[in-house]
């Protein structure tokens, strides 16, 4: 079971850098009790060593996360940026990507959530779907759309 609710969705988020985005997303998960307080810090540190930016089409996204340690309950949080934020490319950390959409997955156990992960990979590989999500603009709509598309 992956938790997703309106308080985990950030529309037109204004952030200086990837640290701020990750902190905002993890903060919302912490407030709802889904992760421990240190989850955001762990995800920020992990992002420095193992970047999670992806050169998806039509715009790049990022997929920050930390280890399952500190995850009380699996959850998804989403940020749509007012202006793009730089994340480094997972496959090639020397490359910077102007990321418009961030999906943070707090994963209690990856094996248990393989279906969610697969649905996410289908979403990442579908430019039309990513555009649709990008321009939904309202938190409630985004929650509803993601629950349907990811079969949460």
């Amino acid at each position: 079971m992956v938790r997703l609710q309106e308080s985990f969705i950030f529309v037109d988020l204004e952030a200086q850098d990837s640290d701020e985005v990750i902190a905002a997303l993890a903060g919302s998960l912490f407030e709802a009790g889904s992760v421990a307080e240190g989850y955001g810090k762990a995800a920020i540190e992990r992002e420095r060593i193992h970047a999670t930016g992806l050169p998806t089409r039509p715009f790049p996204i990022a997929f920050p996360h930390a280890d399952s340690e500190g995850v009380h309950q699996s959850a998804l949080a989403v940020a749509i940026h007012k202006t793009p934020v730089v994340f480094r490319n997972m496959a090639d950390p020397d490359e910077e990507l102007a990321v418009e959409l961030v999906i943070m997955l707090a994963n209690k156990s990856p094996e248990e959530q393989i279906e969610t992960l697969r649905s996410l990979a289908e979403l990442f590989g579908d430019p039309d779907k990513l555009s649709e999500l990008r321009y939904l603009k309202r938190e409630a709509k985004i929650v509803e759309w993601l629950k349907r598309e990811l079969a949460l």
Binding site: R46, I49, H50, T52, L54, P55, T56, R57, F63, H65, D67, S68, M90, A91, D92, P93, L105, N107, P110, E111, I114, L117, R118, L120, A121, E122, F124, G125, D126
Partner: protein, 95 residues
Amino acid sequence: MSKLIVVACGAGINTSTIAEDLIRERMEGEGLDVEVKRVLIADIDKYIGRMDLVVCMMKIYREFDVPQLKGMPFLIGTKAEKQVLLDEIVELIKD
């Protein structure tokens, strides 16, 4: 002894799980006796000599004596691109 496909990743639990699962499902569908294993790049030396194919989820600056494929399409490729990559894996592992 069954063949071994290693999915090499920097650290990712999430991303490499997607690739591992898609590959394993296809191998089962083909009726091939293949083990699929997620391995940290730092630990890959343990599998040299034992592995038959490496799928890399990130750029790695090494070469092995077995075929090496880029696994990123499993994460961000279209359905068709995922299919092409799975077809390629089947061809390579059958050899």
